[in-house]
């Protein structure tokens, strides 16, 4: 069993719930234990940094200090939290004046941070600690032949923290392949979904989501596999209906978080994949796989 300090991020308690449920479900079968930080608080995300960066880093430092006490790597499934935590972690080492102010602020709440935490995206944990081969060995319900467009989005690979290529990452394709699925070419896989701009500048964000859906469909995908980021997942799944009405399109492209897909392939109870939380229903597409009899683990899964 591998242990991690876990920081879900605020969206995992609302719009990202299907992803969060599937993460919880697959952890144990993959010999991972995610220990949620007690009484964690928001990382601030981009909007708070746009209001006051020093304060934003201050509130992020609370999370880093909490994580440091556990002595474990800090893992988050949200790409925005990941970038914010990484940047704060770097700046607290590089900017000594800022670090001193933050140190004083933390001491007022009885915490301190010495810069020892390693921040990791859950994607990187799945890819490096579990690995595609390790995953393939546990597959009992291969998604053989399912044509998927693998979407990693931005903040998991940019600004680069060395996990995968910042322009055309491949980890998600490799993970999907290990489950038996067939990744299609997807040039826009690391382009932006618009994130929170869907609220304040919806025309701009919907245009970006539209391009992603179109690019996936044009390349023959039957569904999209998204990284665990709740913002990416929600943009593609929930706002697909809005894109359809705005652009007079008929996209019906299910969006599965990679962790939902893993839950299915591991043969877990149907509730584990939390598919009933997906707005674009994947039930019809996945029926042949879900109704198939589980096979012995580790059978060759590649199509």
């Amino acid at each position: 069993m591998r242990y991690y300090a876990y920081y879900p991020g605020c969206s995992m308690e609302a719009t990202g719930l299907p992803v969060e449920k599937s993460i919880k479900a697959i952890a144990k079968p993959l010999d991972l234990e995610f220990i949620e930080l007690e009484d964690w608080t928001c990382c601030g995300s981009s909007p708070f940094a746009g209001v006051d960066k020093a304060k934003a880093i201050g509130i992020t430092a609370r999370t880093l200090a909490q994580a440091e006490k556990t002595g474990l790597d800090l893992v988050t499934p949200c790409s925005s939290c990941y970038t914010i935590l990484q940047e704060a972690n770097d700046l607290l080492k590089e900017d000594h004046k800022l670090a001193e102010r933050v140190r004083e602020a933390l001491s007022a709440i009885g915490l301190s941070y010495n810069g020892t935490v390693k921040v990791r995206h859950i994607a990187e944990v799945l890819f490096n600690d579990v690995s595609p081969a390790g995953l393939a060995a546990k597959v009992v319900r291969p998604l053989t032949g399912l044509k998927v467009a693998c979407y990693t989005g931005c903040q998991q690979v940019r600004p680069s923290y060395g996990f995968d290529d910042s322009e055309y990452p491949d980890w998600l394709d490799q993970m999907a392949k290990s489950l038996g699925a067939k990744p299609v070419n997807f040039p826009l896989k690391a382009r932006c979904c618009g994130s929170s701009l869907v609220i304040s500048e919806s025309d701009v964000a919907l245009d970006l989501i539209h391009r992603l859906l179109e690019n996936a469909q044009e390349n023959g995908a039957q569904c999209m596999v998204s990284t665990t980021c709740p913002l990416c997942f929600t943009a593609l799944d929930v706002y697909q209906a809005t894109v359809n009405s705005k652009f007079k399109k008929k996209f019906d492209l299910p969006v599965l978080a990679i962790t939902q897909m893993i839950a299915i392939a591991l043969g877990l109870d149907i509730k584990a994949s939390a598919l009933d939380g997906n707005v674009v229903s994947p039930q019809k597409l996945l029926k042949p796989y879900l109704s198939a009899k589980p096979q012995a683990a580790g059978v060759e899964t590649s199509a």
Binding site: A14, T41, C42, A49, V51, K55, T83, P159, S200
Partner: protein
């Protein structure tokens, strides 16, 4: 530095966290060429940086530029001088908000209501944040959002009450300590 009447716009920006390398920009334009939303910016990223260095503060901060940044970090990943254009843009946003500029965008209100939600709840309470945002900007636009909200409710992805987070008291202390005047 902030109290000095001689302080230029460039000094002001360069003093912000993660913005210190702005003077090393070579105006190559990779940031503008890479920007996901550049076509919407009155002045695209390369010009934004040039305007900071030329002291064109009012022109820049009254415009819609910077508010279309989606934090995709293509500019930052590709910048050959590692000046972190996305961080500079967020730094400029904070100056514009602090000094009361009114650029033609609703993103300013979104940022403020988002940040208030953090201070009030300790975590983002998505339903409350969205409700407040639409109330403050355009309640009629909320009607257009209704199908989305109903979809989220139907799929149990929009809890109607916030989580109780004790740490919000900590956040207030941290924010207070880091307010202008520097922790006192």
């Amino acid at each position: 530095m902030g109290d000095n009447a001689q302080t230029t716009f460039l000094d002001e920006v360069a003093a912000l966290p993660a913005c210190g390398k702005i003077s090393e920009c070579i105006q190559c334009g990779v940031c503008s060429g890479s920007c996901t939303t550049a076509t919407h910016w009155e002045y695209p990223p390369r010009k934004v940086i040039a305007m900071v260095r030329s002291g064109l503060k009012d022109e820049l901060l009254k415009s819609n530029s910077i508010w279309f940044c989606v934090s995709c970090y293509l500019c930052t990943a590709r910048c050959p001088r590692d000046i972190k254009p996305a961080s500079i843009v967020h730094g400029l946003e904070s100056i514009a908000l602090k000094e009361g500029y009114k650029p033609p965008t609703k993103t300013t209100t979104m940022y403020k209501t988002f940040s208030e939600s953090i201070v009030n709840n300790g975590r983002i309470y998505e339903f409350g944040f969205m409700f407040k945002y639409y109330l403050q900007t355009n309640p009629l636009a909320a009607l257009k959002m209704l199908p989305t909200a109903l979809n989220l409710l139907a799929h149990k992805r929009m809890p109607l009450t916030p989580k109780k987070v004790k740490g919000k008291a900590d956040l207030r202390i941290i924010i207070n300590k880091l307010s202008a005047g520097g922790g006192k």
